[in-house]
Each structure stands twice: as structure tokens, then as C-alpha cells.
Subunit: 154 residues, 2 copies
């Protein structure tokens, strides 16, 4: 238990503690100081954040460089059974143009997203945009864009 506690686990634990203590479910840290308190390389913090505090895991990261910089970790309440989450999961690694259009339309019709959002999604994956990409990666880029855009609707 304590024996195979990796650094990553410790870091994760500390961050979760901070989040639990916080009224607003927000932890703000200074990377170097935090890493120092734990005794690890600063970049290790980035590793943990990018592997365990992703939007898919229900967190939003915001940071700033330079003097007085910081890293903010926000926990967003996400309902694992929410419709949007299901849809995101159903997209997978690739999606073709037609399926995407239908998916967006369905989201709109079922009231999951409003009209403006639907139109924005359409334009983000419009022909104009896709045309500027190598054909081989279109389906995967479309999937990535769509998933990113759906994520914030949670």
C-alpha cells in the first residue's frame, strides 16, 4: 500500500486533497513549489495533470507562465451517465462527414445543445475546413474537434 505508492499517486492525492478542501472545487498551485514539497521534478506535475486530470476525467486545467505564474485545477461535475458523455464515447477515433452532421443535428433536436452551438460545430468541421486537411486525417481530426466541442457542453 504505502510501499508501492508512486510519486504520481502522491501528487494525485495531494491535488485531490486540495480540491476537497476548496469551496469552489478549485486547486491553485505553483508548480515548482508544489513539486519541491513532494520531492519530484517539476515536469512530473505536468505528467500527472495530463494523464489523470484531463477533461475526460472531469477536470479543467488552466495555467499561466511568467512571474507569479500558477496552475489551476478545476473539478467539473460530470454525470457519467449524461447523454453527452455517451455521445462523446460513441464517436471514437474517427467519424465521417455525414455521421457528424447527423450527430450534431440529433444533439440539437434532442435539446442537448442550442442552435448556435450546433451551427458552430457545423462550421468547425465544414467543407472549407476539411478541405484544408490531408484527406487521410480528415475523419480523425473531425472526431477530435467534435469531441472537444461536445466536452464543454457538459
Amino acid at each position: 500500500m504505502v510501499m508501492n505508492m508512486r510519486l504520481s499517486d502522491l501528487i494525485t492525492e495531494r491535488i485531490l486533497e486540495l480540491l476537497d478542501e476548496s469551496e469552489e472545487s478549485t486547486a491553485e498551485i505553483q508548480r515548482n513549489e508544489f513539486a519541491n514539497g513532494i520531492g519530484c521534478a517539476p515536469s512530473q506535475i505536468n505528467y500527472v495533470l495530463s494523464s489523470r486530470f484531463t477533461p475526460e476525467h472531469g477536470f479543467i486545467i488552466e495555467s499561466r507562465r511568467g512571474g507569479g505564474g500558477y496552475i489551476k485545477i478545476k473539478r467539473v461535475v460530470l454525470d457519467g451517465s449524461s447523454a453527452i458523455m455517451h455521445i462523446i464515447n460513441s464517436i471514437g477515433e474517427e467519424i465521417d462527414a455525414m455521421s457528424a452532421r447527423i450527430l450534431i443535428e440529433n444533439c440539437y433536436q434532442s435539446g442537448l445543445i442550442d442552435k448556435t452551438s450546433a451551427r458552430l460545430m457545423d462550421s468547425a468541421i465544414s467543407k472549407n475546413v476539411m478541405h484544408s486537411l490531408p484527406p487521410q486525417i480528415r475523419n480523425s481530426v473531425r472526431a477530435t474537434i467534435l469531441k472537444e466541442m461536445l466536452l464543454i457542453q457538459l
Copy 2:
């Protein structure tokens, strides 16, 4: 309250206060006096102005040297379609990540787009998406996506 308040933040705050107090959305300061009141080097004021009160951020600066000199900061309120058209034109064929972020933020701050739209735009050109593209075409794809998304807000 706020733990690590940078000088830049303090200066920004003071200027915004002045702008809010003003009927004309115009703040007029004297650089040395203002810097003195805050306790920083006078040139720090220029730094803040040129990094946070640019036209891209929605402000216009006007100043005069010599005896009785001053610096005037005006907040410009963009209006409607023509503003968006202007912004679209200003994007051109390519745009880097930071300029894009600032542009979106400015559109939101000036009321041209709502918060959800701003967040959707951010996610459509997020790191996750850009990372799935060949580096050489990122700036142009970002420009295309952004312009497409802005177009529908007309």
C-alpha cells in the same frame, strides 16, 4: 484575498476601475504619478498598456509628452456585424495560437459573441485538435476554423 497579485494585475485593475468610473469609458492618467501611487517603475505602465490594453483587447491608447503630458486609455465598444467582418478580415490566411485566444477573448469581452460560443471556438482550436495536425498547416487551419465560426455569428 488575492495572494499573489502581480504589479501588472494591480495596474490593470486600477485602470479598469478608472474606466468603469468614467462616463466616457476613458481613463486619463499621468504616468509617473500613477506609477508612484502603485510603487513601480514608470515603464511598467507602458508594459501593461502594451500587453493588455491593445486594440486587439479592445482599447485605444493616446498620449502626450512634455509638461502636462498624459496617457488616455479608451475602451472601444465594437458593434455588430461590421465588427465581426472586420475581425474576420484581420485574420488573414494564418493565425497563431495566442493571437487566436486573444481574439476570441476580445470578441467575448466586447459582447460580440456569448460565453458558450467563445468556449466552443476555444475548443475547436484547442491543443488537442492542433496536435492532431501536421505542424506546418496548424496556423492556416486555425485561421480557417476561426473564420468559419465567426462567419455564422453575423
